[in-house]
């Protein structure tokens, strides 16, 4: 399949089942809501060493948040419900409780409840108080700028992590430009995040390594500087490769995001240095979700594109 001079390889991305949740962070203004949300989702690129993969889904207007203040919607994904619970409490406790004027709410209406402010409330040392509003319990913890308001629980759902595609270009500048265009388009898709820096990752990995202690190592087949000494998968004209990894609340959300992203890359075309689109997989043996690039591009717009799952607030 060749679109606008870009070869779409006949391959698929391999993704895994994860547990995910959405949090709503609000603040006195968007600036402080984002300070909180940015810290909350910091160092959360990969579950390999960060515990969770997290990112800001989108900004929220005052009409979309429980307390009528501007905010940000954040998605967090972990490999197990236990780890997600640990990470949510740890991160909210260190980044939202500490952030001036910020409040934290659950952002999904379905799923199993996990603790959000349920244990963080004890920071109030006996001065904490709760209010039940519309069947949801909110904790008020006195802090030095007033009160930290935090919903008691957030909902956790079964989600999908690790959807991806690779952008193969002639050089680094073309790869960055294509990846940025893809991310800009994909950020408009609800229910997904791209957890790596700027949404893009350069260190795609393969399973295993020559070292006993290292279960994953650099994806040498796509490393341009090794093309002469390894079994390379780079076309002769490709000199750079970047990957975009997507976590989503459902497989359909990832499919939509992948299509939107790939279309943005294809729109730039061969003239802008884009050579091919590929994907990272492990031979189909590890992940239960397979996203075939060509099939996704041929599907066209699905009707559920643009429908957020579970509501924002």
């Amino acid at each position: 399949m060749n679109l606008n001079g870009v070869e779409v390889q006949d391959t698929f991305a391999e993704a895994f089942g994860m547990r995910g949740t959405r949090l709503i962070i609000t603040g006195e203004n968007l600036k402080w809501a984002y300070h909180g949300a940015t810290a909350l989702t910091g160092f959360a690129t990969s579950v390999i060493a960060c515990g969770v993969e997290a990112g800001i889904e989108r900004k929220l207007g005052p009409a979309e948040t429980p307390d009528g203040r501007p905010g940000a919607s954040v998605l967090m994904f972990a490999t197990s419900s236990k780890e997600l619970g640990v990470q949510v409490e740890r991160r909210v406790g260190q980044t939202i409780l500490t952030c001036p004027t910020a409040s934290c709410f659950g952002g999904l209406s379905e799923g199993d409840p996990i603790a959000l402010g349920k244990n963080l409330r004890y920071f109030g040392d006996g001065w904490q108080a709760s209010k039940v509003v519309g069947g949801r319990r909110f904790w008020r913890v006195p802090v030095m700028d007033g009160e930290f308001v935090c919903e008691e629980t957030t909902r956790m759902v079964r989600a999908v992590g690790g959807g991806n595609f690779l952008i193969l270009t002639t050089d680094s500048a073309a790869a960055l430009a294509a990846a940025e265009a893809a991310i800009e388009a994909m950020r408009k898709v609800p229910n997904v995040i791209m957890p790596f820096p700027g949404g893009v990752v350069r260190s795609g990995s393969k399973v295993g390594s020559r070292y006993k202690t290292l279960p994953a190592s650099t994806n040498d087949a796509f490393c341009p500087t090794l093309r002469g000494v390894v079994n390379t998968e780079l076309p002769p004209e490709a000199g750079c490769c970047l990957e975009i990894v997507i976590d989503g609340l459902t497989a359909d959300d990832i499919r939509v995001a992948m299509r939107v992203g790939m279309q943005a890359v294809i729109a730039r075309g061969r003239a802008a240095g884009v050579v091919a689109l590929s994907a990272g997989n492990y031979g189909g043996k590890l992940g239960q979700f397979h996203f075939h690039l060509r099939a996704i591009l041929q599907e066209g717009d699905t009707p559920d594109a643009g429908a957020p799952t579970g509501g924002a607030a």
């Binding site: 203040r69 001065w127 039940v132 308001v149």
Partner: protein
């Protein structure tokens, strides 16, 4: 299906206890409704003797006529809707566990006492002990929401444990007395000794409110939880709709320091 409508045939000579109505409708439906025995003083009457009964929807009940001498309307209501066209007597919605009740007129004392869930909307005024506790009971209202568009008498929310009472008018003396938790809103002030003996919970008051010496002034603040509450009350309309339109700082008084002292009076303009 049309709403089950019970219209009082004539003015009552004494106080009528209508507590069997809602549990019987929930249990037996319309079967034998006209023969249901209700007490007026020491005498028993068949319901059909006192009310003209029309309609067939047992989950949507309308009571009409001068019901100001009818007590315990909607007592034990668990689901469905009950509408009172006109005034209602005492103990309206006693120990209610669900459903929705509307009264177009005034209600007498002890409405919503022991209420656990559901909602009551009163378009007129309410008497003393709204959402309070029965004499001897350790807890008053323990959940649900009561909205009053008029004024409320004394001891509103006495020993209240959970839920919200929202009053567009004023509340009499001892608002939220001995309150354990929950939320009480008065948009046109409170009488004397508001929050007397309260342990936890919130009295949110606009207008005049004398503050007892047992409440400690904790200063003026903008609290996100207040705005969260205001926004949740927006759909109620009327005087409640505009509360969330602007940031409203509150003066926070904590007390009653003679009791547990974790309660609060939040006063705003």
């Amino acid at each position: 299906m049309t709403a089950l409508t019970l219209t009082l045939k004539q003015a009552l000579p004494g106080r009528l206890d209508l507590s069997p109505l809602s549990p019987t409708l929930a249990r037996d439906g319309l079967g034998g409704l006209a023969a249901l025995q209700v007490h007026m003083g020491t005498r028993q009457h068949a319901l059909g003797e006192l009310f003209a009964i029309k309609g067939d929807d047992a989950s949507n009940v309308v009571l009409a006529g001068d019901l100001s001498r009818v007590d315990q309307i909607g007592a034990g209501l668990a689901a469905g809707s009950l509408r009172v066209e006109g005034h209602a007597g005492a103990y309206l919605g006693l120990a209610m566990t669900g459903g929705r009740m509307t009264v177009t007129g005034n209600v007498a004392e002890f409405a919503a006492v022991g209420m656990r869930k559901g909602s009551i909307e009163i378009l007129g005024n309410a008497g003393d002990y709204l959402g309070g506790a029965l004499p001897g009971a350790l807890q008053g209202m323990a959940g649900g929401q009561v909205v009053v568009h008029g004024d409320v008498g004394a001891r509103c929310g006495d020993r209240m444990r959970r839920g919200a009472i929202l009053v567009a008018g004023s509340i009499g003396d001892y608002a939220g007395s001995r309150m354990l938790a929950g939320t009480l809103l008065a948009l046109q002030g409170c009488g004397a000794h508001a929050g007397y003996g309260m342990r936890r919970g919130t009295l949110l008051v606009r207008g005049t409110i004398p503050i007892d010496a047992t409440f400690a002034d904790c200063g003026r603040h903008v609290l996100p939880i207040v705005h969260l509450l205001f926004r949740s009350w927006q759909p109620l309309g009327g005087a409640f709709a505009g509360l969330a339109d602007q940031v409203r700082p509150v003066q926070r008084f904590m007390g009653d320091r003679g009791a547990d002292g974790k309660g609060e009076i939040l006063h705003f303009e």
